[in-house]
Structure formats: C-alpha cells, structure tokens
C-alpha cells in the first residue's frame, strides 16, 4: 500500500460508489430465496432415541447444563428393560444451549447429532425445551468423526506371553498393566456406569476406576470389596460382562475393566490396610457348606455384618472351582491364597477337610447354627453315557483339572481328545498342551477338541478359543461323539464322531440331532469329557430333601434373598437359577444370600 495516495483526500473519488445503484444486492428475500446450509451446520439436535442408551455423557459434558435426562415414553416409547441402557433420554433446553456440539462429539453410540435447522419460533418460552427425536424431521448436520473425537476409542494393549513360550509352562499368560498403561486405560472411562448393569454383582465400576486414575489403589479395592470379595481373582478369570456392556463398544473398544481391577489388587500385597467397616458382633452363628466363591462371598459379607461364620470345606483348599479347576496359567494359586487370607483375617473360620454328611452331619449344623448356607456348587463331572465311557483312560474334566492343579499330575498321553466346546474344555485342552510339552517337548503330540456346537455358537469365550488355536489345539466343531473305539489290547485308539444336524430345536431347547450316515474317527489314546457338571446334595437327609423344592431346570428354588423352601436354609452359587456358571454370578448370589441371612437373623428372636 502506498500511503502517499491516501494523504490528500479527494472530493470526487466517493462518487464512484454510484455504480452500486445498478448492482444486485447482497440480501436474500427469505423465504422466497433460501441460503444453502452447509453440511456441518450446528443447528437444533436430532437424537435417534432407539439407538440412544441414556448413558448421560452428553449431559456430563454440556458446558451450559442445558441437558437433562428424562423419560421420553409419552412422546416416543422406549424399551425400558434393555440391559446396557438407562430408560432416560436427553432433553435439551434451547434457552441454555450454546450449539458447541460437545454433546455430539461425546456421544458414544453416535445417536445424537445436530441438524441443519436453526429456526424455531414460539411465543411460549417454556416450549424451547424438548426431547430431540428423529421424527421431528430435521436434516442431519454436524455429526461425529472417528478420526477427531474426544472419546478415547482404542484400548491399551495387554502384554501376553507368546504362544511358543507360554505353552511350555504354567506361568500366568497375561502380564498385567504397567502403571502408565493402567492410568491411561483408567482415563478412558467416562464414568457413565452402564457397565454396572452388565456385572451380576453390580460392582461400583466407575468409582473404582476413578480411584485407580487418582492412584489411590486402596480406595479402589475398598470399592471392589463392597460387592465382590474376590476382586483379584475376578481381575483374572471373570467373564467380564461389564466390558460387554461398556458404551465404548458402539464405536470402539471397551474399557478393559477386568485388567484394571487386576492392576489395583496387584498393587496391594494384602488387603489388611483397606479400611472395611465391620458391624458390632450379633452373637449369631452361620454355617456355610462349601468354600467356593459363593460360600466365601456369603461368609465375608455376613462377617462384616457382625455374625460369626464357619465354612465347611471338604477339600484341602478353600476356593472351590477356583482352587481345583481353573488352571495355573489363568489363575495363580498365590492370588487365591491372598484373597482367602483376607477373608480369614476378617474373622471367617474355614474348616478344611470337613465334609458335611461324613465328618459332620447336616442336622448337627441345623441344630448348632442359626442359619445354614448351601454353596456346594457343581463339583462332579457329567457323563454323556457314551459307549466305552467306563474305560480307565476316559476321565472327567473336573477330575483331570484337579489332578493337575492340586495333586500335581504331570503324566499325559501323546494324543488326547477333549469332548466339549465350553471354557472348561478349553482349560483342559490348553492344560494338556502344557503337559505334553513338559513330557515330550511337544514331539508327536496332538490335542483335539470335538464339540456339538459349530464356531458361531461355541460357548467358550473368544479369547479362550483364540488362545487354544494359537497353542496348536485342533478343533472339530459340529461333531458329536458316538463311541469310544478300542484296539485289540483294550487300549483306546480313537473316538467315533457323527455330524451334527442341529444343536437347538425349533423351541430353542438343547436337543441335538445328528446325520447318522456321516461319521469319522478321531485318533487318540486318552479322552477327557468336558460336557458340564452336576451337583450332589446327598448330604441332606431324605426328609429334608423332600421339603426342598426345585425349579424346572433342576436348580434349587430360592426366593429373592436366596432362602430355600426350608426356613433358615439358604442356597447360592451354581445351585440356583441366577447363576450363569461363572465366578462373578456365584459371588453375586452369595452376597445376596448374605443380605437375606442377615435379614432372617435380625428378624428372629
């Protein structure tokens, strides 16, 4: 710019503006002419209420407190019983909204968007507050982006032993989070609490993750112990339904809640410094039959409520399936000892090697104690009534696992067939791989599984299946066992299997059918049956057993507090309907029974 040109003003130059008389104006004659609205326009909201889960992250991030969560049923019916969703949806006050679109950025499901419409006219100020819906017919504007999002969609990677290394040893596979990883993973949590709906024990997940983020592991474990007495174990072997419910699943990977739990408990050598509130002694005595997760959970919570508790455990270790079944590479024994030590420190008496019905009778317990809890679990393997099953080289999974974990069995056949497609079958197969590596260095060995279910409906978890595949386990999905084949010396030479037509019938009931003409032979010298377990209630005298009612699925019938049809006798764990066959649901219904027993004892003189 040459400043000289401007120093002397001119009279005539302004006259140049006359040309504007003949130019088209800037302005548009709304509504006859409309301005094009850009694609990213941040106008009034749209919310796909059916997709929305009411997690409330939009409300939490709103800088203007414009969003409240309300029940939208009167304008749009929603499924109120949906698991993993709250029955509320955002309502937006446009007197407060600043159209910053942070709610859109933070929406984990991607249901909340902004529209291209910013015009709403009404003389009624109260009407500027509504639940946005798709039906309102607004065109989509500003939406989420997967590249630029404040949500941390990617989870931390967990370090694991390589398949070649881990299959040679019973060393724990998963290494656990480092401090940096744990803090980063804890940071991802939005604190919405949808995960709590997935957890059978309804653990206070957002609170304990926040405590981990605050680097206060004691506080974190305190929150865990409120609902789950075995957090370190659940941090390793849980079926983590919380992670399946995590809101991050919609657009990314869930928060690794289980590994965070493990991290916090691993940081504490023992839980004796965790401040746990204990109520004054009541003088009431409770007997617990079975030292498995549900019995331990029930005992612990009863102790904190002031009752004195004795656990009767028939085995040499408390912990039930955790001590006897789950292999060392998933759950090291010292972790179990740490948590059981904590339960004992709280004042629970555990009588090992004491079998009810043999060393002490059930009637004695009823007489000497104010309440009895039955948590014996499914401690016997189920038979499939296979031809040749009685052969000594055919073994039940639960027995096999106990032999390996507790009795230190190390001898194994070269070729092993595992029948079953569940997590126990995977445990067996992977244990066999390790034993074979130790015995033969993996030379000329083979482990194969055979399951009725095909890949898509296999009950084992994906991690377990992948782990087994990586370790070299061969799968035969969709085949059912027919008979055990023996050679001339009476040794097992293989298993004859037939092709499965379907596993579940049209009523979705387990009722497998086979193609009788399609058969093949799986070669092997040793067979492990992992097709489920059953309970044994023979310790209960006949007259009492007759009083005990069962559900149609042959589980003990209990009320909402875990009380059976015999007054003062409670049941939990895998014996009752609410169990899903995992540790966490046993822990959950053990806790629930503890509340029931406490209620029963306090209402009794």
């Amino acid at each position: 710019m040459n400043i000289k040109e401007y120093e002397n003003g001119s009279f005539l130059k302004p006259l140049a503006s006359i040309k504007y008389l003949f130019k088209k104006p800037h302005t548009l004659r709304y509504p006859y002419e409309e301005k094009p609205v850009p694609d990213r326009f941040r106008g009034l909201h749209i919310n796909d209420v059916d997709k929305c889960i009411g997690c409330g992250n939009c409300r939490d991030i709103c800088p203007c407190a414009a969003i409240t969560m309300v029940d939208p049923s009167d304008i749009h019916p929603i499924d109120k019983n949906k698991v993993g969703a709250n029955p509320v949806r955002p309502k937006i006050d446009y007197g407060r909204c600043s159209f910053c679109a942070l709610c859109v950025e933070m929406c984990p499901t991607g249901s909340l968007k902004m529209s291209k419409d910013l015009i709403y006219v009404s003389p009624d100020a109260d009407s500027f507050n509504w639940v946005p819906l798709v039906e309102q017919g607004r065109e989509e504007g500003y939406t989420q982006s997967d590249e630029i999002t404040p949500l941390m969609l990617e989870a931390e990677k967990m370090e694991e032993l390589e398949p070649d290394v881990r299959k040679k040893t019973f060393e724990e596979i998963v290494k656990g989070f480092t401090r940096e990883q744990a803090l980063k993973e804890a940071m991802r949590c939005l604190g919405c609490g949808i995960c709590m709906q997935g957890c059978p024990a309804h653990m206070k997940i957002p609170e304990y993750i926040q405590a981990i983020f605050d680097e206060d592991n004691k506080r974190s474990v305190k929150y865990m112990l409120e609902d789950n007495v075995l957090p370190g174990i659940c941090g390793r072997i849980c079926t983590h339904r919380c992670q399946d419910a995590c809101v991050y699943n919609y657009r990314g990977e869930p928060v690794l809640i289980m590994w965070l739990k493990r991290y916090a408990t691993d940081q504490l050598e023992s839980y004796k410094d965790v401040e746990i509130e204990k109520m004054p002694p009541t003088g009431k005595k409770v007997a617990i039959i079975g030292g498995g997760p549900s019995g331990l959970s029930c005992a612990y919570h009863l102790t904190t409520m002031g009752h004195s508790v004795t656990i009767f455990e028939k085995g040499q270790r408390a912990g039930g399936a955790l001590a006897n079944g789950i292999p060392m590479y998933r759950l090291p024994i010292y972790e179990l000892d740490k948590e059981i030590k904590h339960i004992e420190d709280m004042g629970v008496e555990i009588r090992l090697n004491t079998e009810v019905g043999k060393d002490v009778s059930f009637e004695e317990l009823l007489e000497n104690y104010d309440a009895v809890y039955i948590g014996v679990g499914l401690s016997f393997g189920r038979y499939i009534k296979l031809k040749g099953e009685e052969h000594p080289d055919v073994i039940q999974a639960i027995k096999f696992l106990r032999q390996v974990k507790v009795e230190g069995r190390r001898e194994i056949a070269r070729r092993v067939i595992v029948i079953g497609g569940g997590n126990v079958a995977m445990d067996v197969a992977r244990t066999v791989v390790r034993l074979q590596q130790m015995a033969y260095g993996g030379e000329g060995t083979m482990v194969q599984t055979v399951s009725l279910e095909d890949w898509d409906i296999m009950p084992a978890s994906k991690e377990e299946i992948d782990g087994a595949l990586e370790e070299g386990v061969i799968f035969n999905p969709g085949w059912g066992p027919n008979q055990v084949l023996l050679d001339e010396n009476g040794k097992i030479r293989g298993l004859e299997v037939k092709k499965v037509k379907y596993v579940f019938d049209e009523n979705h009931r387990f009722n497998p059918a086979f193609y009788e003409d399609q058969k093949k032979v799986l070669e092997g010298d040793y067979i492990v049956e992992a097709v489920g377990q059953m309970y044994d209630l023979s310790f209960i005298p006949k007259e009492l057993l007759d009083k005990l009612e069962f559900t149609p699925r042959r589980k003990i019938k209990v009320d909402e507090y875990g009380e059976t049809t015999i007054p003062g006798v409670f049941a939990g764990g895998d014996l009752v309907e609410t169990s899903r066959g995992d540790a966490i649901s046993a822990i959950a219904n053990g806790h629930r029974a503890a509340i029931g027993i406490d209620r029963y004892l306090r209402s009794k003189k």
């Binding site: 710019m1 130059k13 990213r40 941040r42």
Partner: protein, 367 residues
C-alpha cells in the same frame, strides 16, 4: 467562571463501541475529563472457567469477543498446549492461521463500518457488514456456525477443512481485493475522512509505549511491534509479511494502519493456503475430556488480535479444571490508560470516532 456539566454516553448509544459507557465532564463542547464506566457486560467468565472442565470452556471463551472470537480460542488452546507440552500437527497450524486471519478480516470489516458510521459516512457500513457475511458463511462451512466457531481447540482444530473450502477462501480473498478499491474510493481516500481525523487525538511514540498500547495504536506511532512476528504462533513463522507502521499517531493513522493490516491479512491467507500441507492430521489426540488433567504449572499464551496483544494466563493445579484463567484484553489499557487521557480537550463530536479509532471492545475488559 466556567461551568462544567456531566454527560453520560452509553451503554446504548449509537456512538459507543459496545455495551459500556463513558462519563464525560464537559465545558461547552470540550471534554474536561472522561471516565470509563464498565460493568454492563460482566458475566464472571474468568471465575466460571475455574468450575468447568478444560474442554467445556470452549463454549465460553469465544464469547469474550464477538467480532473476533477465534483469538480467544487460539490463546486458550495455546496455553493448554503449553502446559501439556503438546505439539500440534502442521496442517492444524495453517488452518489456525487461516481462521485467525479470516477472523481478523471480519473484525476489520466490522470496524470499518463502525468507524465510518461515527463520521456520518454510512454507505461503507452497509458494504463492509454485507461483505463480512461472506466470511461468516465460510466459517459456517468450516465448522458449522457463523459467529462463535469453537473450532480451534487444544491439540489442533476440530475438523479438517471440507473439500473445496480453500478455493472458496481464495475466491473470497480476490473478491475483497476488488472491493477494497471501492472502500478506498468511498472512505479511505475521501476528503471528509481526512478532514475529520488528521491531527485528532495524537499519541506520541513515547506516550504509546508508556501507556502500554499494542496493535494498530502502537503501529500508528511508528513502533513495529506485532506478536505474529515477535513471538510467532500457529504458522506465522513460515509466512512472509511486513508490519505496517506510520508515525503520525493520530486517528487517521490508526485507521490507515487497520486498512493496511486488512490488506496484509489477505496476503497471509493466500500464502497460508499455498503453503499448507494438502493432507495430514489436524489434531493431536487429547485425553478423555472428563478426566483431562493438565500438569501443574502456569502459562501465558498470546496472539495478535485486530486490536493488539490478546493473551490468556492460565494456572493449573494438576486437576481437571483450571485453577485460574486470566484474560489480557488489549482494550483494557486502550480504554482506561489511553482513552481517558486522550479524550481530554477533544470536542464532543469527536469522542465517538476517537473511541472507535482506538477500537475499544468492552467484553475484553468487562468479562
């Protein structure tokens, strides 16, 4: 014996640049003393920021300055990035530069209209405010809204430019170059403008420095000071531009500096679009907003706004919310240190255009 009287200009006076007022003591039509009277806009922004997550302040900070909101976003983001030690991607730097310069253009167009209006030349107001709207349309295409963009955020920018946006910006720059000739003809070369402003409200170089003037006011006294050159942020270090200076220090010089800066901004935008990497990330991943802890410490980040140095001073105590955020608005010194002195002895008819020539933006001192 002289008689003085008090005149209260504002807060809704057409000759006042925003929602504040000036108490004038006059003798005849000569100003004897002037006193700024803020308080009409106070919304406790700085205090509110202490109660919000770092990301939530994004909705608050642009409202500190209406005509040029992006400077607040940039300074805030830079302060947070400084505390966290985050480097932003190259393309984000250029996008920030383009957005900041577009905001400067929009602010100057608004200012030109306002300044001409205080001199009674209303035609320019109609033109510039209309032309400013095209800048707002470009903003709407980029980030979805016209005025409060909330586009620059810690870590970079919120979205990459939509396809074809750069070309539209270049077309707008060419359009403004053409229009600038008309602006010159009707206003900057107009004898009326010269007559009303030359020699009015002169600030000397020494006074400007002593009174903490920044931006166009300081440049109009001959000091070549500009944050974009002295302490480059965004992509300004890669861009070639001159700092305009004049030595007159009067109302006319201040207006001419702004006109000159306007042209500079057009050049900067063209250069930035040319040099900007065509592809690449525009955001460095930041923590989950609800658990976003900024390390303990303090930071001061400043940018060159249309009015001068605009800065954010931020103290973090290591939690999810800032411990203290203080905004340094350039209008604070321009009003209370400069205007209150400068208006003394001026005629009442000149008060409005002197205030606008200092480009006093009340939200900057009254937050």
């Amino acid at each position: 014996m002289s008689r003085t009287y008090e005149l209260f200009i504002g807060p809704n006076h057409p000759g006042i640049p925003g929602n504040f007022s000036v108490k004038l003591e006059l003798e005849g039509d000569t100003v004897v003393s002037a006193k700024g009277d803020p308080g009409y806009l106070h919304r406790a922004f700085e205090k509110s920021m202490e109660n919000r997550y770092y990301i939530q302040n994004l909705a608050l900070i642009p409202r500190i300055c209406v005509p040029e909101p992006d400077i607040n976003e940039a300074a805030y983001a830079m302060a947070v990035e400084d505390l966290m030690g985050v480097e932003i991607p190259e393309r984000a730097k250029y996008l920030r530069t383009i957005v900041l310069e577009m905001a400067r253009i929009a602010a100057y167009l608004f200012w030109m209209g306002g300044f001409a209006a205080t001199l009674g030349l209303y035609t320019l107001s109609q033109w510039t405010v209309g032309d400013r709207d095209y800048a707002l349309d470009l903003f709407a295409e980029l980030c979805g809204v016209r005025v409060y963009h909330m586009y620059i955020w810690p870590g970079g920018v919120r979205r990459d430019a939509p396809p074809g946006w750069e070309d539209e910006v270049l077309a707008y720059v060419r359009y403004l170059r053409d229009k600038l000739i008309d602006y010159d003809n009707i206003f900057f070369k107009n004898v009326m403008f010269k007559q009303r402003t030359r020699g009015v409200a002169v600030i000397t170089k020494e006074q400007a420095i002593e009174w903490c003037a920044t931006g166009p006011i300081l440049k109009a006294t001959g000091v070549a000071q500009d944050v974009r050159k002295d302490d480059p942020y965004a992509a300004y270090e890669y861009i070639d531009f001159e700092i305009p200076t004049l030595t007159d220090g009067d109302s006319w010089a201040r207006a001419m500096i702004r006109r000159w800066e306007f042209e500079n901004s057009l050049n900067i935008i063209e250069q930035a679009i040319k040099k900007m990497p065509k592809k690449g990330p525009v955001w460095t991943k930041m923590p989950n907003p609800l658990k976003w802890r900024v390390p303990k410490g303090e930071a001061y980040a400043k940018v060159e706004s249309a009015r001068g140095e605009h800065g954010f001073y931020m103290v973090s105590d290591g939690t999810e919310r800032p411990y203290r955020v203080a905004v340094r608005g350039s209008s604070h010194t321009h009003m209370f240190t400069i205007a209150e002195r400068l208006l003394v002895g001026q005629r009442l008819a000149d008060v409005s255009h002197i205030l606008v020539s200092l480009d006093i933006c009340p939200p900057e001192f009254d937050r």
